[in-house]
Symmetry: C2
Amino acid sequence: MKSFAVVLSGCGVYDGAEIHEATLTMLAIAREGASYQCFAPNINQHHVINHLDGKEMSEKRNVLVESARIARGDIKDLKEFKAADFDAIIFPGGFGAAKNLSTIAFDGANASVNGDVEKAVVAMKEAKKPIGALCISPAVIAKILTKVNVTIGTDKATIEVIEKIGAKHFETTHGDVVFDEENLVFTTPCYMLDAKITDIDDGANNIVDAMLKWME
Amino acid sequence: MKSFAVVLSGCGVYDGAEIHEATLTMLAIAREGASYQCFAPNINQHHVINHLDGKEMSEKRNVLVESARIARGDIKDLKEFKAADFDAIIFPGGFGAAKNLSTIAFDGANASVNGDVEKAVVAMKEAKKPIGALCISPAVIAKILTKVNVTIGTDKATIEVIEKIGAKHFETTHGDVVFDEENLVFTTPCYMLDAKITDIDDGANNIVDAMLKWME
């Protein structure tokens, strides 16, 4: 049975992991008979957004604690992640990837990346194991690996950031997966496009399926 | 196109709506070509649970604001719900149904039900439109309609509460749907059983499919 590490970045599209992308990634993995373990960095969120009105709230929330909501409590500190324990790693999207896992939402191509996230991605690349990323997360992978082929769909501002980093962007539509053979990086746009929840299901299925096919 | 109202109770299994059940209910509806609008009551959560360690946190969170995380901001106050606008209503589970939509988690058969939830369910029953409930939510429907046939799976303590209320419980396993023809109530156990995420997908698909078939 192939095992995936699923890295979450909070709980909610505007300040954490996108909930549909996270849930449907876990479903896609389980559907194919593979297993998953959720991880998240044990750090404070950059901020807390009221998802009803879009305004910042004067609260502090922890990325690992909030991610545990999506994982039903079954989640580990990303510090504990070991590449040897998993066959693949995958990052659902949501602004959490650009605000908590990295500072891409604020600093663009000059962003910094959380140390535990960087270590996990580098360790998987060195172990020659596949790395998956949905939605905005491919920008984080680009920031870590630099010379990599990715997609985030068609969003001009984000494509500019990715190309400034030195990565190559491929325009895609719903459900498409871009595969970088050299870096073993798989990416799909999901909610970076104006998507329906069924498109997210397609994207999650297609990327997990492509990763598993490569592993066979 | 048939339209569903999806009633959420927060965001996270231990103090709100169960995230997988909510997401997969929305996916099941969209997959069948129907539409949905999310709703939640605009009230404070009973409490906030740290989903990593299971302990209560000294915070206040609002059910509508937190539910908006699952709905990506596209959610309405349940006070605005009108039975005339929808073909069906459905309640995903999670402790939020038993702690926020009602007090069943604390008061069992003597629980009270949130006024907006009760109004919505009674209005749909009077309009002879189908009512769906997953996981623990059938206990809330039982508390409102009293003489109704439901399932929450096999959990003895909850079955006792449901029968004390005056409703009839049917034991079921993963993906089963109990249909009460007189009240047009559809129920399925989901995470009230020791379930995998693929079982939740089956349960959500089966209940939405049964509701749509009845509507045809």
